[in-house]
Amino acid sequence: MTYLAKPKLHHPTLPVNTLGFTRRDYEGAVSTLCAGCGHDSISAAIIEACYELDVEPHRLAKLSGIGCSSKTPTYFLGNSHGFNSVHGRMPSVLTGANLANRDLIYLGVSGDGDSASIGLGQFAHSMRRGVNMVYIVENNGVYGLTKGQFSATADKGSKSKRGVTNRDAPVDLVGLALQLGATFVARSFSGDKAQLVPLVKAALEHQGAAFIDVISPCVAFNNHAGSTKSYDYVREHNEAVNFLDFMPVRETITTDYAPGSLREVVQHDGSVLRLRKIAEEYEPTDRIAAMNYLQQHHAKGEVVTGLLYLDPEADDLHAHLNTVATPLNRLGEKELCPGSAALVNINASLR
């Protein structure tokens, strides 16, 4: 029912967060994606995460490329600046925006065509630069807007809706992110809100390159038997390694877990990640172990989900570039222009 406008009035009893905003305040325009699209669940998870984290909507900038996933920033955080850039190039635009103002939160939303095909280079380089951002790939293994072609994340041997078998090996974005130095790497499933919301929250608080690969079935072109990105396939093959409770700095930890099944990780900013371990041997702060684990389980046909890697001491591009604390877009003539007196000396040195 995408042609119906959302009512503007809120019910007076809607709960509010500490900023006084309701969930509705974090919503955007009505989605124009297909009914049942996994992407809409991800938008809902982003809304929930921002609401629960008390994010000031205008202090977050949402950026995307081109494709179904890249349309979604219109459907959440209507009071945030958004930028629907060009195909596969969101990472560079986000990097530039981040350089201009380090004080905002940057949320990049992309798809598997946008990030694993045309934008694979920009995806890779934003990870290795450690841009402070949340980078979500809404991964359905298929080109939806152009009607059902395979994308580069489609598994070898998987079948398209038209019955064509994919012969190319898939690009594994999680594996790449780990190899390239992302400091927060997770995978989730759009159908698992309980897992996804805390991951988005933790990623928003992470001060570095945070990547979440979200398997998000395409109901129109990739939800059939033979697809490895369908709701049924992912539910059957989902191997969660942990379940995350995200604790912002100010919250006291009250939840209790059985000893041995809990792993606490304190991030740089003081926030605490509590991981309920499902796979006992999984060690989320060991990059190499994570890469091994993922590869072994991928070979068995399992889709490993959860918080796969976290560097609690992460830093970001601004730290690498040693930039001043004041956002660059707020510096004025006094800070930037050396003035005419310096120019006299420069001229003198050039004679």
Partner: protein, 612 residues
């Protein structure tokens, strides 16, 4: 045998091997002449190579101040056996050949009409130094020493320059001075000094400065307030980003924290470079990239986005020979059309055409203001000839009262006071809308930026009239740009002139010399130097008041001429292209020859049959 004799007016060319350390010795030579008050105009002619291939350094010594390339060589310093034959052939009859005579060469290797000066450079080096690298490096200084005696350079000026260069590096200073003296003494004792070409102290340099356009543009970007630079290495623009880094380290480091008031990213390619610039510009920082033609090709999709989404971006295009990879180390003005119309769909972009390093500084700073004011990409169209060669130019000036023009930006108070915000709403009638930076206000002024069509309030719309409305406003904005970009500069002839000439960019010095030569021959031509696109009315008026106007360019297809016809409504019949595009800088000889020949043809009055 004839010997060319000239004082303060000749061309000396050094033929070297890339990577042999000759560059700093040759620069030392050129600067020594400047210190004697005589203008010089040096040019690097180099291959796409790191080590081993031939490279040349051509110095025009010109008391009259003709800074264009002259053409022809009076004294060849032939240090490269690979190019011996072509180097010897290039010398003017009666000119001089200076060479390393350690190994005897057959008589057939020389020319009868050239004065040969042999000096056993390798032998001297081998006798003096044991380290092979020292032998190579000091050989260069030794020949500078010898040349100083041969053409009458003031040895003290050379020594002082070496002193400045190695200030604080005393270990290097002494052996360099020694090598200089070694060469000079040898020449004084064994060669006939001076030769017919001499430098005489003059007072023709004034307070002018000597620097490369890339370094000047980088400095302009520092002064203009650029804080984000994203770039990808490409000849001939790489030294611009590197100079920006150098200048920033010096002038933009916070003295208290030691932190940087700038961010420079060497991106993975040109697509990412311009993407970063656009992201930063969208978010309110002044950002630029420096590139060359092939880089512009790659950036084209993004440039279209910035035009349509109205995001400031400054692009310095240091042009080189095209098409495709073309001639990476040669100069051309061949990106004019590509930049004017970069992108799919209907687009037009603002361009500035600096003539020398002085204007590279000015235009780079101005481009940042224009980009913010017009909310659009702005190109500074320099080239290899200006960018990578040191050029004598007026000192750089800066008015401390000047502030950055950040254009139309609504802040928190504007939004709070209830001012209407429509991202693409033409409030002032100049086609330029207001924008907001992300993060300004919790509930007002946010908008969604997109490359697809939208209405005045940035809402997605594919309605035809909405699209046309927006495209018409963009045209109006381009019209507004005419009043903001630098006006053309007229050089009027001494006598009333039927003919005019239009030129731009690095053609300037050659053009001015040609105008003087033509005037001396009795051909008077009014000249108009175009400094920007969009074109102001003055340009069409200039064409209208002359029977024919030559358009002098360094490309094959007359790209500026095409643009003049397309965009200024000029009748092409009135324009005569004068085109130089072999990759070498245009010369006054070429322009004079072309214009003189055409004027002669145009002045012929055809015979008419008289009716009975």
């Amino acid at each position: 045998m004839k010997q060319i004799t000239a004082v303060n007016d000749f061309v000396i060319k050094f033929a070297n091997i890339n990577g042999s350390g000759s560059a700093s010795a040759n620069e030392l030579f050129a600067k020594s002449i400047l210190r004697m008050g005589v203008p010089v105009s040096p040019r690097n002619i180099f291959p796409s190579n790191i080590q081993g291939l031939p490279t040349w350094y051509e110095v025009r010594v010109t008391e009259q101040g003709y800074l264009g390339r002259r053409g022809g060589v009076d004294l060849m310093v032939a240090m490269n056996p690979q190019t011996w034959k072509q180097d010897v052939a290039e010398i003017e009859p009666g000119g001089y050949l200076f060479y390393d005579s350690t190994k005897a060469l057959p008589k057939s290797a020389f020319r009868d009409d050239v004065n040969v000066i042999g000096m056993p450079l390798t032998e001297i080096c081998n006798a003096t130094y044991t380290d092979s690298r020292e032998r190579q490096l000091f050989k260069n200084i030794i020949y500078v020493g010898a040349l100083s005696a041969l053409i009458g350079l003031d040895a003290d000026e050379v020594a002082e320059l070496i002193g400045e260069q190695y200030k604080g590096k005393e270990k290097l200073l002494k052996p360099n001075l020694h090598a200089l003296q070694l060469g000079r003494t040898y020449a004084q004792n064994h060669l006939q000094c001076p030769i017919g070409l001499t430098v005489k102290r003059a007072n023709a340099v004034g307070d002018r400065i000597f620097l490369e356009g890339n370094a000047a543009a980088a400095l302009g970007l520092v002064y203009g307030g650029a804080t984000v630079c994203a770039w990808y290495p490409i000849t001939p623009s790489s030294s611009l980003a590197e100079a920006f880094q150098r200048h920033c380290s010096k002038y933009r480091t916070d003295p208290d924290s030691g932190k940087s008031r700038f961010a420079i990213v060497q991106a993975e390619d040109e697509l990412a470079s311009i993407g970063i610039v656009i992201g930063a510009g969208w978010n309110g920082a002044r950002a630029f990239t420096a590139t060359s033609g092939p880089g512009i090709s790659l950036m084209t999709e993004f440039i279209g986005l910035a035009y349509f989404a109205e995001i400031p971006a400054t692009i310095i295009d240091v042009q080189r020979g095209g098409p495709s990879t073309g001639m990476p180390t040669r100069t051309q003005q061949a990106d004019i059309l590509q930049c004017a119309y970069a992108s799919n769909g209907d687009t037009k972009h603002v361009m500035l055409f600096p003539e020398d390093p002085h204007e590279c500084f000015e235009h780079a700073a101005l481009a940042l203001d224009l980009a913010d004011r017009l909310q659009t990409p702005v190109f500074v169209m320099t080239d290899l000839d200006i960018g990578m060669n040191q050029r004598l130019c007026e000192p750089l000036v800066w008015d401390d009262a000047k502030t950055m023009d950040r254009g139309k930006v609504m802040n928190f108070d504007d939004l709070e006071s209830g001012k209407e915000f429509g991202r693409y709403l033409d409030v002032d009638g100049d086609g330029i809308p207001y924008r907001t930076y992300p993060g300004t206000h919790p509930t007002k002024g946010s908008f969604f930026t997109r490359g697809t069509t939208k209405d005045r309030y940035a809402r997605y719309s594919e309605e035809g009239p909405v699209y046309v409305d927006n495209m018409q406003r963009l045209l109006k904005k381009f019209e507004t740009a005419k009043s903001l970009v630098p006006k053309p500069v007229l050089t009027a002839a001494a006598e009333p002139a039927r003919f005019g000439v239009i030129y731009y960019g690095s053609t300037s010095p050659a053009m001015h010399e040609a105008l003087e030569t033509l005037a001396a021959q009795g051909t008077y031509v009014n000249a108009l130097r175009v400094r920007a696109f969009p074109f102001q009315d003055e340009i069409a008026d200039f064409v209208a008041t002359h029977s024919k106007v030559f358009v002098v360019e360094q490309n094959r297809d007359g790209q500026l001429k095409t643009l003049l016809v397309n965009e200024a409504g000029i009748n092409p019949a009135g324009l005569i292209p004068v085109l130089h595009y072999d990759g070498t800088p245009i010369t006054a000889r070429f322009i004079t020859g072309e214009i003189a020949a055409r004027v002669a043809r145009l002045n012929v009055i055809p015979l008419r049959r008289t009716s009975a």
